[in-house]
Amino acid sequence: MTIKEIQDSIVEEFSMFDDWMDRYAMLIEMGKECPIIDPQYRNDNYLINGCQSRVWLHAEKRDGKIYFTADSDAVITKGIINLLIKVFSGQTPADILAADMSFLDEIGLKEHLSPTRSNGLLSMVKQMMLYAEVMNG
């Protein structure tokens, strides 16, 4: 699937819930299913800086595509990073760099988008984009 198709399906899945509780329950579920980072990478070099909960992110390139793994000590944070992994993992660096992220507005997780929020979604997206940039070409 393309990034856009995955995004659309995530938006559709989230839009089935009108209650925030269900949306969070889903994020928590996604957190529990996150492709977990190899323990050897669960160190400060792979830490995305934030102060409330920690997130480790690793990326590797196979056959021209990037595959992400991650972990966090907070499950909601882990759900958010997994949401992004679902969108970006298995895509080419060029596609990742060109991705439109406006789907995040549509899934009712706006409060995580604030740049002042520690471990915000934005710093995770930025880190993934950074990997894509480095691995591009």
């Binding site: 509780m21 969070y24 928590i28 102060c51 409330q52 909960s53 907070a74 499950v75 909601i76």
Partner: protein, 420 residues
């Protein structure tokens, strides 16, 4: 004296009467900052509507009135904590600025190379980092700087036990090393521990060591009598005691304040100035360089009068009952672990739930309208001590109710079930 009528009190705090995410707001983040009553808001507004003027320098009417109001605020604060004279109160931006002032000025007066300063294991960063950095500054040699070696081992730390109670035997041992200054929190902002500061002050005084007390968490909740405590310094923030942000204070015994060098330089704090030499103004003006926050100082005065309009014993008993009730209700939740179980606690309850990150819990109960703080509460060494990433902290003020605690406890229980 007003009898404690919580509905009437709440009516004075308009901010409490609102919905967040469609749920009534439950505000339990009072240790971070309390809400402000209408009288305080109106006082500051009135100042800007009718009285605004720079103080101390003008001959004209408004300036004289503003100066008088500002100095009256100093008097009110002095009486509130039973200082011997108004001049023993220095207005600052708050606890952090007061402690930086002391680390710099009292540090310069008393602490030389190799000298030690005592703090406790439960200090807020504000009562640790200024001392640590000051000691580093005076002890690091040129060679250390090149080799990037820190010289902060002159900061002595009073140990605590797993309940969050300071070890007074260890404190006595530290005092025998003849530190130059002791600086300790009255009430811990992470654990709620009420430290036996009167006893600790007397212990330090036996060795002739002055004591600074960080009163950020106590002013709103307890009756403070600096003469009875016999502390040398007592520092606080207005915004944690129903007053505006941007104002706070430093009480110091006059004999210290007179000896201490100024902290910042500029207008207001000088006596005579030439390019060759400057002489400084009297205490407390020597420590109040530049234009102060007059409006906020008047708000602080009003907040003090607001607090004084109640029977303090009654407020304290009510807040203690809130804490007892919250602790009792929370303890029914599976996996509950309280962080800080000192026999004498005040104002707040801090906890973690097994297997659940505080951030997750805080995020979910926020959605239910409950405002608490999660994280390390600016006391990272405390979290390290307990081996946790942070806690969930609910902190109370006189306008909180048991009904709110019920909502909070239900929210925590529901969130824990979602997260497990």
């Amino acid at each position: 004296m007003n009898h404690l009528d919580i509905d009437k009190i709440r009516a004075q705090f308009p901010v409490l009467d609102q919905q967040v995410y469609g749920k009534p707001l439950v505000y339990f983040d009072n240790a971070a900052t309390t809400q402000k009553p209408l009288c305080v808001i109106e006082r500051e507004r009135d100042y800007y509507l009718h009285e605004n003027c720079n103080i101390h320098r003008g001959v004209h009417y408004l300036s004289q009135m503003a100066t008088e109001a500002y100095e009256n605020a100093r008097k009110t604060v002095a009486q509130f904590i039973n200082a011997r004279q108004p001049q023993e109160i220095v207005f600052t931006r708050g606890t952090t600025e007061s402690l930086n002032l002391l680390a710099t000025s009292l540090g310069q007066l008393l602490v030389g190379e190799g000298d030690k300063v005592v703090v406790s294991a439960m200090e807020h960063h504000s009562n640790m980092v200024p001392w640590q950095q000051f000691l580093d500054r005076i002890n690091r040699t040129e060679l250390d700087r090149i080799n990037k070696i820190n010289r902060i081992n002159n900061l002595l730390v009073i140990r605590m036990d797993k309940n969050g109670v300071l070890d007074l035997n260890h404190y006595e041992e530290l005092l025998k090393q003849r530190p130059k200054i002791v600086s300790i929190a009255h009430i811990s902002n992470t654990l709620g521990t009420v430290n036996p500061i009167k006893e600790m002050i007397a212990m330090a005084h036996k060795y002739g060591i002055p004591v600074v007390v960080d009163g950020a968490q106590s002013m709103a909740h307890q009756v403070i009598d600096v003469q009875d405590l016999d502390c040398d310094f007592y520092v606080f923030s207005g915004h944690k005691m129903y007053a505006p942000m941007g104002i706070g204070g430093l009480y110091g015994k006059m004999e210290w304040l007179e000896k201490m060098p100024p902290y910042q330089f500029g207008g207001e704090m000088v006596d005579t100035v030439s390019f060759e030499k400057t002489t400084f103004n009297k205490v407390p003006f020597k420590f109040e360089a530049g234009t102060p926050n007059v409006g906020a100082a008047l708000g602080l005065e009003t907040a003090v009068k607001f607090i004084q309009s109640f029977d303090r014993q009654e407020v304290e008993a009510y807040e203690d009952e809130l804490l007892r009730y919250a602790t009792e209700q929370l303890s029914g939740i599976e996996g509950m672990r309280f962080i800080g179980q000192a026999p004498k606690r005040n104002g707040l309850v801090s906890f973690v739930i097994d297997g659940i990150h505080p951030y997750d819990l805080g995020t979910i109960i926020d959605k239910m309208g409950v405002a608490v703080r999660t994280g390390h509460h600016c006391a990272e060494p405390v979290m390290t001590f307990f081996g946790i990433p942070g806690t969930v902290r609910a902190s109370f003020a006189m306008y909180n109710t048991k009904e709110e605690i019920d909502i909070f406890v239900k929210a925590v229980d529901k969130a824990a079930n979602m997260l497990r």
